[in-house]
Symmetry: C2
């Protein structure tokens, strides 16, 4: 008998986006001439920046000649990219890193998923609620989630982020080993100020917890109070791993590149008490189960840090932020309760009159032909909210807003 | 305390290639003017084929315009590539697959590493010896290897592949749950004929074992008796997963693309006895911890199946096979015992006069300034052998051969 990982059997079918797709398809079938606009889209819509396109063409040409061809690259990524990242994303914020603390990958989703490989299976995990569903699933697959009950997984500590606590997670009653934080946040679009993030770093330092910090939306930060990297906080290098992505920063969702920072000061412990550098473990994991990111893609990532590249990707981020502003202000003008959309491409909208997330979803689809994402799909504390995204095309977003106001 | 996966602590440092690099560096430092030729290189040296380069440029241009831009693709890969693979790699050999049985990835190393995710931690694993070291490490990381002793890992069943059994693994004394087979084989360069592979498929069917079949070197098969896919064997769809790579087939080591076939007939069992499709588990794993392979890379992979693309990659494979022939025949002429090199880019050479692998390595480096790979680095049964690879440039290989004959 081929024996499988039992934890996979406990995992319910991934439901949120397939259920949205099903309801939209049903609506379209019944209303074939109606123009449906999606404000639920989580993917970018603007093409790659000209600097990125140029870098790709150049790198492709290098691969065409034996003298410049590159085969296997370092599993950790090329030093040219690791150094460029440090120089632009960290050094200007006073964060000193060495290239071997930066691991280039094919995207934050892979790294966030695979990082659990190097952690003990009986670590207790804390997650903010609502949350990006993959964090939960990854830990359920790794046997860290316990049983699935009507209140969620029995083994996971949920940290409710609701309007009443300004979406700031509060310290849990019992100590977690691993804490997932994502700021700017998906789905709420809110972020933590320096002081708030410092409280979590201090908590992790006091409790010997590991913070897995997902900073995929860092490029959207517009307020000075919000830190761009957790390492801007003193002591964070001893407790935190930071995940970054070029997906939303530079439209790399189809190109696949991100990176993960694992500081050498970060220590882990085996059951017997042996102290090990987490950096070495991750390096070993990557060298054994990964063979590096495509050379041409790493050259593309490098290009976004050139003076011209920076201008171009800034313009795209600003375009999406302006979309976010339009959505946010429209709903505010309508007297609705709106969060996020300032330091993030996500807007978190309270449904009116206590409507449920799915009830509001259906109403928006039927009445305005606009698709939103039900907040409850991100966790119990998302009930009564929907997520709107700013990644669409301007004219479509404006059209959607017009429908709502009429 | 941040608690880590204890299995990582048990894993010795990866030693083989770093030790080779160390000895070569020491030699070069002492002999700075000597021209050292490597016959140990595991990476391709020929550039990407013109059809691949053209496809990359075209796909990059698509990413430059909003109307043709592609963001997130399917985690399992684009259907255009999955269908093309089935049409060319399987249908002509009488193997019918549906697109959802083919999963595109960033390379076989990732899939071979990650596949263990969906298997129970207490499965008993059997490996051929010598073997690609990552198979061992992956299972050690997953807690399936037991203790490391002087005879290898206590929990792993080793299947010695030596000259005395013509490098054909024999059935073990006790039943394994999972069997790794790699044919054409790295490092021995030998392969199994249809009848020999059928015996293993039948064994797996009788014993309820899973075969993880690594066919990364399939393109190098030149004899009709050797099956290109394990699914050419009746019943294999119920017991085998096949891993394929474009790395050696089309020089994609730096572009990163491969695929894994998981037939729907393949069933696994949870501890409670529940039967599940392994295909569904792998799909769930990939959707949760992977976000697909770059669109432009998938277009590049598609291009190798065009009439022109096939001609071009065939020419590269033939170039490497001719290298293999030159190496093989030179050593045969010298009266040495040589295996492989006919259906594979690897030549497996018995060291003369019972010399140890490392002793022969040192002799070759000192006397002929030629680098080989000590066979013992692939496992205990590799002692007394070295691996030579055919991926170098023709003139360098000819120069190396000249030195040996003189």
């Amino acid at each position: 008998m081929i024996r499988i990982n039992d934890n996979y059997v406990k995992l319910p079918e991934s439901y949120l986006f397939s259920e949205i797709a099903r309801r939209v398809a049903t609506f379209r079938a019944a209303n074939p001439t109606v123009d449906v606009i999606s404000l639920g889209i989580g993917d970018v819509t603007r093409p790659l920046a000209p600097s990125v396109i140029d870098a790709l063409h150049r790198a492709v040409d290098e691969q065409a000649a034996a003298s410049t061809f590159r085969g296997y690259g370092p599993e950790q990524g090329y030093e040219f990219l690791r150094r460029t990242i440090i120089e632009h994303d960290f050094a200007p914020r006073g964060v000193q890193l060495s290239p071997d603390e930066v691991f280039i990958s094919d995207g934050a989703k892979s790294d966030l998923g695979n990082f659990a490989d190097i952690l003990a299976a009986d670590n207790v995990v804390a997650l903010t609620d609502p949350v990006y569903p993959a964090y939960v699933d990854v830990n359920a697959m790794g046997g860290r989630a316990g049983r699935l009950t009507s209140e969620g997984w029995s083994g996971i500590i949920y940290l409710p982020c609701v309007a009443e606590n300004s979406f700031i997670p509060q310290f849990p009653a019992s100590r977690p080993d691993v804490i997932y934080l994502c700021y700017p946040n998906n789905p709420t679009g809110t972020t933590l100020d320096r002081r708030q993030l410092k409280q979590w770093v201090d908590y992790a330092l006091e409790n010997g917890s590991l913070i897995l910090f997902d900073a995929a939306y860092e490029a959207f930060i517009s307020r000075d109070e919000a830190p761009h990297s957790i390492y801007e906080i003193e002591g964070a290098r001893r407790v935190a791993v930071e995940f970054r992505s070029f997906s939303k920063t530079a439209g790399f969702t189809g190109l696949r590149c991100g990176y993960t920072v694992v500081p050498k000061e970060l220590k882990g412990y085996a059951t017997a008490g042996e102290e090990v550098e987490v950096n070495k473990l991750w390096n070993r994991r990557q060298c054994t189960k990964f063979n590096g990111t495509a050379y041409i893609v790493q050259r593309a990532a490098e290009a976004i840090y050139s003076p011209q590249g920076r201008k171009e990707i800034r313009a795209s981020v600003d375009y999406y932020l302006e979309n976010a502003r339009i959505i946010r202000e429209n709903f505010l003008r309508m007297g609705m309760e709106v969060y996020g959309g300032v330091d993030a491409p996500y807007i978190w909208l309270r449904t009116p009159q206590g409507m449920g997330s799915w009830e509001f979803f259906d109403m928006m689809l039927d009445k305005y032909n606009v698709v939103v994402t039900p907040g409850v799909g991100f966790g119990p504390s998302g009930e009564g909210f929907v997520r709107l995204t700013a990644f669409g095309q301007r004219e479509r977003i404006e059209e959607a807003m017009k429908r709502l106001v009429l």
